[in-house]
Symmetry: C2
Subunit: 567 residues, 2 copies
Amino acid sequence: MKRYFPILVWGSAYTKQALSNDLIAAIIVTIMLIPQSLAYALLAGLPAEVGIYASIVPIMLYSIFGTSNTLAVGPVALVSLLTASAIGQVVEPGTHAYATAALTLAFLSGGFLMLMGLLKLGFIANFLSHPVIAGFISATGLLIASSQLKHILGIEANGHTLPQIISTLYHNLGNANFETALIGLLAVAFLFWVRKGLNPLLNKMGVSSALASFITKAGPVGAVVISIVYVGYFELNSVGVSIVGAVPQSLPPMTLPNFSPQLVKELIMPAILISIIGFVESVSVAQTLAAKKRQRIDPNQELIGLGAANLGASFTGGYPVTGGFSRSVVNFDAGAQTPAAGAFTAVGLAISAVALTPLIYFLPKATLAATIIVAVLSLVDFSILKKTWNYSKTDFTAVAATIVLTLIFGVEVGVASGVVLSILLHLYKTSRPHIAEVGLVPGTEHFRNIERHDVETSASILSLRIDESLYFANARYLEDLIQDRVTKGCALQHVVLMFSAVNEVDYSALESLEETNSRLDDMGIKLHLSEVKGPVMDKIEKSHFLKNLNGNVYLSQYDAWVELNEI
Amino acid sequence: MKRYFPILVWGSAYTKQALSNDLIAAIIVTIMLIPQSLAYALLAGLPAEVGIYASIVPIMLYSIFGTSNTLAVGPVALVSLLTASAIGQVVEPGTHAYATAALTLAFLSGGFLMLMGLLKLGFIANFLSHPVIAGFISATGLLIASSQLKHILGIEANGHTLPQIISTLYHNLGNANFETALIGLLAVAFLFWVRKGLNPLLNKMGVSSALASFITKAGPVGAVVISIVYVGYFELNSVGVSIVGAVPQSLPPMTLPNFSPQLVKELIMPAILISIIGFVESVSVAQTLAAKKRQRIDPNQELIGLGAANLGASFTGGYPVTGGFSRSVVNFDAGAQTPAAGAFTAVGLAISAVALTPLIYFLPKATLAATIIVAVLSLVDFSILKKTWNYSKTDFTAVAATIVLTLIFGVEVGVASGVVLSILLHLYKTSRPHIAEVGLVPGTEHFRNIERHDVETSASILSLRIDESLYFANARYLEDLIQDRVTKGCALQHVVLMFSAVNEVDYSALESLEETNSRLDDMGIKLHLSEVKGPVMDKIEKSHFLKNLNGNVYLSQYDAWVELNEI
């Protein structure tokens, strides 16, 4: 019971101190979330209020089922972009059907996450390599930022790839609205200054660092307030500045996703993609924050928590959600101690949805776009290219391909290529393993690569250390390599394969070893194994290999060396 | 020059002895190939003579470009089935367009093989695991045999999966033709007896083993001759026995494949599949035979040889070809010494195509079906299921899935699932590596698993041997495991990671190690590495990891043990 409802654990030990910490964090996060939620809903192509709705019930459900104390669940930039990309290919944007399709997407995503959690498939996220994720996030940050330029300039533009976005932007540049561009560019400049320049300035002015940090975090709210007043006062909406307009003043509505088989079929693959990417983003944030407090999160239970949040979003007028990076960091920094902070944030947002929505009537979309741009550009960091270039060309190739393909062909192609490519490159590397000829380090019992160390060798013994598990992809490679090596040394009587780094021998490799043994036997050469690990030996013993092996199996390479040299 | 034209090497050293050996082998193979080629063409849904055409020019081209001395190239059962499956989905069988599409398929396949050869991509074949291939061949053997039952019974049946074939067979069973079934079943019984019972009988009768073997190989020809005479004498074609009928009496015609973009688009994926499967079958046979004579074949040049053969087939009225198992073994057993044997076989078949075709007018298709059934059933061997069950459940899962999916969903789905599943299972295994806590074997410098050996340990030192390369799929796993272990021992001061089996540390794993290092540092525990291999150390040295590492890197685990125990 406690496994599936972590709230039972932390709820029963809830203290007054935790309550006050959680309340303070909730207030700060609520203030930050209002503009962010509105902005991300627009990014997803949905009415602004959907962003608020998507933050209320999902946060509450996560606080019941989730295992992170500080993760803040709701709309995030990446998932919003993926939502726009997925639904935009199926339904006309701006229609009622579009909003209903978003509910379906959230429902499918929630169901899939829940299923993965119940089947304990959380490990699947591990198959995304870190550099690929880093590259992908940077590339999508660029995509998102460029997709918001249309709101900044007050023109039409669309597309899900960089070339599409840039060409439509360029094409419509002549129609730019001066007032909109003024607001948008000023908002971007202001927000960048808040992020980079305000905090040092406040510190210099002697403001306490906690207050300075709070003021800095409230920057987007400041931009929102200023631009509402400015637009409202001059009624700039009458000269073409696009505003949020009338937002229904209500709690999240009860909604039913559209379950038409055709729509479900079209959205199921995007839903799976959104689930996995959202899960990876969320679990990375949650683990980073948990590690700072020496806490642990349970990835499988996280899947259930995020699944519940998305199912909740689908029945309360929302769209796909996940744990967000920036909001979670704010929650953590503000001192949130338990998931109750999330529940309090939900209450704060519910109050805002009822009470504050008339106030944002004049909020220009350009300001929301500016908050998105500044937020996502902070995630863009191409230094991963340089780091991987220095460390490993394989990793670099995967990252570079992910970035380029994401920008040129869109997020789905980009992330799919990144995953597939990193798996293929890994397989390719292991298919051509490093195999070192080793010799004895004088005066020790250790064996090292003859090309790197000054070691003793014997003309009658060829010792090969195989630096890879043996499986189908490299079975033939080893077979060929041994064949090549043995034809070179005519005094050769023994081949010793040092298995210290062989962690597995699959059936294909076993057949290759049998083949090698029989070929060496024909040539009058004995095949020996050394340092075979327990798990590998257990399996080999189940086969006929040891019966047919014409040499021995030695506990250590040194034993083999001593005995074979004495013969 | 000699690399791409192996004929220059063996041709310049050609002897009279080789000539006579090659001629004898060619005669035997020609006799065997006549019924086989006709039969496989029918299996592919093509006119019988196409099988002969596909054996002439392709064999000659392979003898120029190929590296195997004994491989016999031409129509084979598996590729014929794949051809029928690929073209049958695009063009109406029995039409002229069908035969032209077969040329296109051969052309695309030839081009793809040639390209792979020039790019030296022969290693791709290694990604098919041996058990998956064995299971796939057995399953297709069953599929092919069952698809031929319609000819044996003289009824209509079709489909590319076992359920389809069985249900259409069952549905039409009432229309079975008595005379056809009599010929078909007798031919099957006769051929099985030839294969199993004739050779021992001849040996018992004192016939020399060479002659006995030749008579046994000629069994299908015997069945063909007998059934031609029987059907011709009683004119059974007038009572519904389906015969080969009039075959044009000519050399292979010059033909041009259909290059319409639509057809090319539809056939490109099947062509790639046929190329890879054909290449794997061919190269396996060639390597097995070459090993018996201590010769080597070059997989990349084999791609070029098979590519040339298929391109040849596409311009001379053929269809996709590859190196066949049974014909190559016959060629080898008959004493073929160089690829010239193949060229002579081609001449023999060309003569047959001109001179012998009128003689096969009355040849019943039931007899040809019988030769196919007996040939492919000899390849069906489900013992791989038992072997892999005993050895490794992972291999078993891949084989069982391949067999079941091939039978139920057809060859394309079957082989694709087999490949993907074996890769995924391998990744899954490596994502949860075996990590052993090790201790010192008393009186030695060796360290072994504490659960398997009686070893010395220390309360302040945790030594973990990581039995897997560290990469993105298992980076997090190690991080979590160390975290779990260190929280258990309170006297712990040092964690030593023994890297003897770590063959790679990718960028994701490096980040995980850095994370682990900083967490352990916070807990006052030092992280050390030991037995790091040269190539791994080279890479780690390029990063900042060693600067941040709070412990040391030791050449051997023993060094670490001695030094850390002294502190």
